[in-house]
């Protein structure tokens, strides 16, 4: 059973989607190690200093040995988590690409995949990021983590589904009337942006640190989306999971 008039090669489709997600995730995790980790170390250093100042921990050799082991563990997880999250988001990207490929502009799969990656980056990452930007450790109360997660995920989901609905509307419109759906999405996302509650937590960390972290975070996430579109486009061109079937009569 398939969505469409006949089915593509399922195995090849799944394999190239998963490989492209995992490879892009590897790029993402690796970029984070170089670009984001210094900010995380600095932020956690502030947390440690707060622990010493409040008397909750002592500035001893034992503390630092335990800390180094703990941080090594977290840093090693950066690559693994990058591959897992990259594969996860890549799976969503693969579904959307397969379903929308014929509607995407361009006659090359790399171009189509990059355009879709750009659209998804904008709707499910960049707009939510502007509303709820990434924060380093030291920012965020444990009591509000569930609320913040619900707000962030809701914003992503509403923005993504909103884009999908207005895309469907644009397909029903002809010529210049398509602009109506674009204006509709802009109005919709603006209402959502200003209507959704703000992040309830106060940012007490130095703003140089917070802004530097946010810029690097946005840079590596954007790198991931470019890599994802590029790799899936290349693999799709090479393996052609929906390749044309030739028959002779």
């Amino acid at each position: 059973m398939s969505l469409g008039d006949s089915s593509m090669n399922t195995s090849i489709f799944l394999i190239i989607v998963l490989i492209s997600g995992a490879l892009a995730g590897l790029v993402w995790g690796s970029a984070n190690l170089f670009l984001v980790e210094p900010y995380l170390d600095e932020a956690i250093g502030i947390e440690n200093q707060n622990l010493f100042d409040s008397g909750e921990a002592d500035d001893t050799l034992e503390f630092w040995i335990e800390y180094e082991g703990y941080r090594s563990w977290q840093k090693s997880g950066q690559i693994l988590a990058g591959i897992i999250l990259g594969t996860s988001i890549g799976s969503l990207f693969g579904i959307v690409f397969a379903l929308s490929r014929n509607s995407l502009p361009g006659n090359d799969n790399i171009k189509k995949a990059l355009i879709l990656a750009g659209l998804m980056w904008f709707t499910i990452y960049f707009i939510p990021f502007l509303k709820y930007p990434a924060n380093p450790p030291t920012v965020g109360e444990a009591d509000t983590v569930v609320l913040r997660s619900i707000l962030y995920l809701s914003f992503i989901a509403i923005s993504g589904f909103g884009a999908l609905i207005f895309y469907k509307i644009s397909k029903r419109l002809n010529g210049k009337k398509k602009i109506i759906s674009l204006i509709g999405y802009i109005v919709f996302i603006s209402v959502l942006f200003f209507g959704m509650p703000e992040n309830p937590d106060f940012v007490s960390a130095p703003m140089d640190l917070v802004n530097g972290f946010r810029i690097m975070s946005a840079l590596t996430v954007s790198t991931y989306w470019i890599a994802l579109g590029l790799i899936l486009g290349i693999l799709w061109n090479y393996f052609k999971p929906n390749k044309e079937v030739s028959s002779f009569t």
Partner: protein, 71 residues
């Protein structure tokens, strides 16, 4: 005289099973990296998993870098 005619047919359909499999991978991976606070390991280790936060600590740095609320 017989004529041979080639027909090219594009296999455009997306298998439902592939969509379901990818949707499950998407949801599972997202929960694992972005939201787990001991829930997955609590299946095997019970309440202790919420204290240890094994997966949370392993994915901690990516969770921050990807913009998800962490703590």
């Amino acid at each position: 005289m017989s004529q041979s005619r080639q027909i090219n047919r594009s296999k455009r359909g997306v298998p439902i099973i592939a969509i379901v499999a990818l949707a499950l991978i998407f949801a599972g991976g997202l929960f694992l990296v972005a939201f787990d606070q001991g829930h997955i390991f609590s299946i095997a280790y019970g309440e202790q998993a919420f204290e240890d936060l094994f997966i949370h600590e392993l994915t901690h740095d990516m969770r921050h870098a990807a913009g998800f609320p962490c703590h």
